[in-house]
């Protein structure tokens, strides 16, 4: 199948994200939703339920305003709006990972306002380096496991969890493979398309996703081999932040002459790396996977890790600059921002901070700033 057709299938999923989940539900399967992005989907899957992301990407936020003050981030606002609208009523459960003071309040509000019978927190340790963190996390995963067993009525065995881990690892590996091909040959497919494939993984059945993704990788490889001119005039960029919302932002980056070749986003690399070790006890493997994820504002990163990580990422991807996509009112990101910027500045890496809002597509000013930034760091790509 041609690349375009394959991409269309992922696009269709992202346009109507819950059709798979709904049909699963109609067939009698339990459906458990999660907010971005650290919830261990494998546990949900191993309990025989269908895991589905709720990424908050909804336009026109109104109902949430009576519950959340104006200074609450649009990510939590957007998903609550969908809940209040009844868009997520089909869920049998919802798991909210605790990352910040906003998420801390959300479980209570969701429980008060929604019909979803099971609403839980995933309470990850906020320090990831000391041995106590691992022990606690295994305990927390065990708690989640037994709650999921209660909700679904199915036992999660080492075997079923092992099988799920394998499937999800495969998905992550394929996604990373696709991303590598894209980073080596930007222009085969657009930045937005790359990230749409990743986003689709959060809504789809993984077996299906893997299948189409394999075809896509094949098609991308073939096209890459055919294309004679390897040089790409686009300016290579890394993005950093939570979610790439509104999605049009990816188009703007490309229209301004850029291409995204690396990231540390919740709806990007943080979702697809690292794998869980298939040779270990599955719960321990999931714990280690969590602890070894790339640095993120919601966790302790005192040891300069995130700054070093971003610096290395820019070098390693041969990017010309970095764009922070920070959601308005996102406190964790803002506390890190000054130090990250200074580290990049002193390494001579051009960077730009854009403040975005889920569900707010007014992007005029952002377009202007992107154009100026990309022109500054990349010259005029047409010349």
């Amino acid at each position: 199948m041609a690349i375009k057709e394959l991409l269309n299938r992922f696009n269709a999923v992202v346009t109507d994200p819950y059709s798979e989940a709904r049909s699963r539900k109609e067939q009698g399967q339990k459906v458990i939703g999660w907010l971005p992005t650290d919830v261990p989907e494998e546990l949900i899957h191993a309990a025989g339920a269908f895991p589905v992301g709720s990424l908050g990407s909804c336009s026109k936020i109104r109902l949430a305003d009576t519950h959340l003050q104006v200074w609450v981030c649009s990510l939590m606002r957007g998903s609550l709006e969908m809940g209040l609208r009844g868009d997520l009523d089909f869920l049998d459960g919802l798991i909210i990972p605790q990352t910040c003071d906003t998420t801390r309040a959300m479980v209570g509000i969701w429980r008060q306002t929604s019909l979803i019978p099971y609403i839980d927190s995933f309470m990850m340790p906020k320090q990831v380096k000391r041995s106590s963190a691992r022990e606690y996390l295994i305990g927390e995963l065990t708690r989640l496991k037994s709650n999921l067993e209660k909700v679904t009525g199915n036992l999660i065995t080492n075997e079923s969890l092992g099988t799920s881990i394998k499937l999800f690892n495969e998905n992550r590996q394929l996604l990373r493979r696709m991303f590598e091909i894209h980073a080596d040959h930007p222009g085969l497919i657009s930045s937005r398309e790359v990230y749409t494939v990743i986003k689709a993984a959060m809504y789809m059945d993984k077996v299906k996703h893997n299948g189409i993704l394999q075809d896509l990788i094949q098609a991308m490889k073939q096209k890459a081999a055919r294309s004679i001119d390897k040089s790409n005039p686009k300016v290579r960029l890394v993005i950093s932040g939570g979610v790439w919302e509104p999605p049009e932002i990816m188009d703007l980056i490309e229209e301004a002459g850029g291409v995204v070749v690396g990231d540390d986003m919740l709806t990007g690399m943080r979702y697809l790396s690292p794998d869980a070790d298939e040779k270990r006890d599955p719960l321990e493997a999931l714990a280690d996977r969590q602890l070894n994820k790339i640095p993120f504002a919601g966790f302790d990163n005192q040891n300069y890790e995130r700054r070093r990580f971003l610096h290395n990422l820019v070098r390693h991807t041969e990017a010309a600059g970095l764009i922070f996509l920070h959601l308005k009112f996102c406190e964790p990101e803002n506390y890190d921002y000054n130090d990250m910027r200074e580290a990049l500045n002193s390494a001579g890496i051009p960077n730009l901070r854009l403040e975005t809002e889920v569900g707010n597509p007014s992007l005029g000013q952002i377009r202007t700033r992107l154009e100026a930034f990309i022109e500054m760091i990349g010259g005029d790509p047409i010349e």
Binding site: R104, R130, Y136, G298, N301, P332, N334, N338
Partner: protein, 396 residues
Amino acid sequence: MSEPFKTAALMKELMAKYYDLGEESRRKGIPVVWVTAVFPVEIIYAMDLYPYYPENFGALASARKVADKLSMAAEAKGYFNDLCGYARCGIGDAYSLEHPVGKILSPDLLLCCNTQCGSLPKWFEAAGRFYNKPYFLWDSPMIEDETSDIKQNYLIKQLYELIDFLEITTKRRFDINKLQEVVALSSQATALWNDCLEMAALKPAPFGFFDACIHMAPIVVWRGRQEAVDYYRQLKAELEARLEKKIYAIPNERHKVYFDHIPVWPRLRWFADMFAANDTLVAASQYTHAWAMNFDPARPLETLAEHYPHQFVNRGVDYRLKLKMDFMRHYNCDGFILFSNRSCKPNSIGLYDKKRMLTEMTGLPGLVFEGDMSDLRFFSEGQIKTLFETYFEQLV
């Protein structure tokens, strides 16, 4: 606010002594340890280190009405003005050339507990990088429903990690017997503090929330030392004497209300006067009660791990509603005020739903108002005044 207390002189003396001790520690090479307000400071005192409270610095700058100035220095660095006002004051002061309330004392070590919020760890991480000093997080996972052995073990295990960290970085020995003594002192002081707060339940009462806001400084910074015990013993005696002489917190107490949160520091007096003018005593708040803990010195580490991480702000909605209702019942409140403080998201998000539920459950009138505890750029006096005027009419 009540007429001036005799203990005011002692308070002044104690606070001066506390700040002097900081300077002296620096000179003598005794580590200055940044801690958060709800942190087992007992361990720091037990190791003869000097605990410094950056939040206290923030509250002071806020009360002196310079939070906006300090904040702007942080904002110039890219910190936005929606962050916690205390953090903005602390970060702003670090970058600022002017120090309107004196310079924040730089740390040798930074210790943080995230039971209060996620702002503190992020602020302390940034400060750790700025001052280039080691940082330790006592991570206290949220308790949505009930706590568990897994969490409790995690907290205890981390206390051992903390002690190792302190012994290595300060090259001092930790002594559990010394900790026991410190916890016993803490326990006495917190009990006396609680006794003072309790007096607000009398009608008319000699003491209320706004008085407590003034008198809480020693329970925060001197908790674990004899100084705090002495201070609250005197305060309690003075309150008892005032009762005999019929000196009350407000001249004509008709109503009592519960106030949910930190006061608006730069407008403390303004609020106190407004409530007094409406014959309403603000009797209690979870905020001032946060230091009314009840430790068991026989089990020093366990008791610390049981109290600090279980603060209301780290709890789920049911617990928090019940706590508010218990306060209202215990203090015989006729209503409640919820402060939607944009500086303090963990205490403010969800207040609109809580107001509805509390009124449903208690039948009492409630009010939510918007503002910032630190920064007067986010305080619209006229609007708030009108809001409260209508509210006072509902108190019957």
